[in-house]
């Protein structure tokens, strides 16, 4: 840890830390390819299994938006688990804290990295819905869908990082995380599914009806980003 390491770490600002942590997480991801080789294939097979279970093109078309977000939630659970497994494996999180790295920076950095991965995941799931479930997408619908996707993933990333940090390092984390997270993300499932329904035009819902749901998603994203940034420090140091 000579001058190179220290120079890159000048100031220990929150934003600087966040950028370093996010870059680190994404680099780990690019090299290990867990998202590409495990999580995305899992999400795809879930979409195929939904088709087996529901067994009707008409039903699939009607419930496609819900299935997209349900598959996204399940896959997000794996991602959150993975995001903190990386951090606690060698006590890295403790070392970051004892090195005086601001907790808020760690939170924002991990949240950004998680959000980037979730965006990839949701994009893939929407393509899968178009291909497998015959969902149709207009231009106006695409704008709504992109905005929905970004807001919803932001909320999911914030809440995932917060609860992931809460359970980090504890025994039985993998089984506990879904129990903690799923009730919390119910508003995202409701909001994102309704907005996606109107983007797809499912059941004749028009695109304009989708925009109000973005309000719910935005409130969720803001609320949990802020509370996560505040609460992450007290959660980590003991």
């Amino acid at each position: 840890m000579s001058s190179a390491g220290q120079q890159r770490f000048t100031g220990t600002t929150v934003i600087g830390t966040a950028r370093l942590i996010a870059a680190k997480d994404l680099r780990v991801e690019l090299r290990s390819r867990v998202l590409l080789n495990q999580v995305l294939p899992f999400a795809l097979i879930v979409m195929v299994m939904f088709a087996f279970a529901l067994d009707s093109d008409a039903v699939l078309e009607r419930v496609a938006p819900g299935l997209v977000w349900l598959a996204a939630l399940f896959s997000a659970l794996i991602m959150v688990s993975r995001s903190f497994a990386v951090e606690t494996a060698d006590g890295a999180l403790d070392q970051l804290r004892s090195a005086g790295v601001p907790a808020m920076g760690i939170f924002i950095g991990k949240m950004m990295a998680l959000m980037a991965q979730l965006v990839v995941l949701v994009t893939l799931l929407i393509i899968a819905a178009v291909v497998l479930y015959r969902a149709e997408l207009s231009w106006a619908g695409s704008v709504l869908l992109v905005t929905t996707g970004l807001t919803a993933t932001c909320g999911l990333a914030a809440v995932g990082t917060l609860y992931g940090g809460l359970a980090a390092g504890a025994k039985g984390r993998e089984t506990l995380l879904p129990l903690l997270l799923l009730p919390v993300v119910a508003p995202v499932l409701i909001g994102a599914t309704r907005a996606t329904e109107s983007a797809f035009g499912t059941r004749g819902v028009s695109t304009s009806q989708g925009w109000p749901w973005l309000g719910l998603l935005a409130v969720f994203a803001v609320l949990f980003s802020v509370s996560g940034a505040v609460a992450f420090g007290p959660l980590l140091d003991d």
Partner: protein, 247 residues
Amino acid sequence: MSNDRVTSTPFTKGLGFFVLLGIALLIILGIFVSPADVNQGESVRIMYAHVPGAWLAYLAFVMTAVSSAAYLWKRTRSLTWDRIAGASAEVGVLFMGISLVTGSLWGRLTWGTYWTWDARLTTTAFLFVTYIGYLAVRGLGGTHQQRARRSAVLALLAVLEIPLVHFSVELWNTLHQEASVAGRGTDVEMNGLMLFTLFLGVVVFTLMYVWLVLHRQRSLMLEDMLEDSGLDSALSERRAEATQAGR
């Protein structure tokens, strides 16, 4: 075993006595004395357990949030607050479970269905699951302070989460008019004795809550003490081994 190692005091003994007396009175009034309802018939008697149970659970969760905040606030930081929060959540989960079961049975009898996707019901189910998760987090291990910090943050997050869930379920529900409660119009016409019985139920359940939490809080304290003393004795044993080996 000295006397301070039990969880009861003269106060809790007296309180317990009144609670048991109150429950006996509630059973007599609720099952035998109070009249059957005009619309619902005998099934209205479920109300005397269901409504106070739900009230107790909500009270308990509010208390969990308040004592968690008291723990996190530096000036009042004490593990006692953490134990009160934990004890309260345990009692709350128990009674929320009871009121969910009695509620769905009552719903089956009066609405003809165990469950409707009404915002209040759905939020209650979410509360139930959320606090089961809270109790699981309390059981994660680590030091007492770690447990207290983690669970206090989680309890305050639940305060954020629950209104949001309620709000979004309500929004969702307005789209599904056909699913809203069929029995909205079957509000119970209460006569004086029914109202009194219900009121008695709420009072008795509140006292029972205080009673249970006092006991549970103290037994949690004993558990913590046991853990600490176990650690201490293990440490001194190892030390003794080390000095023996050194000789």
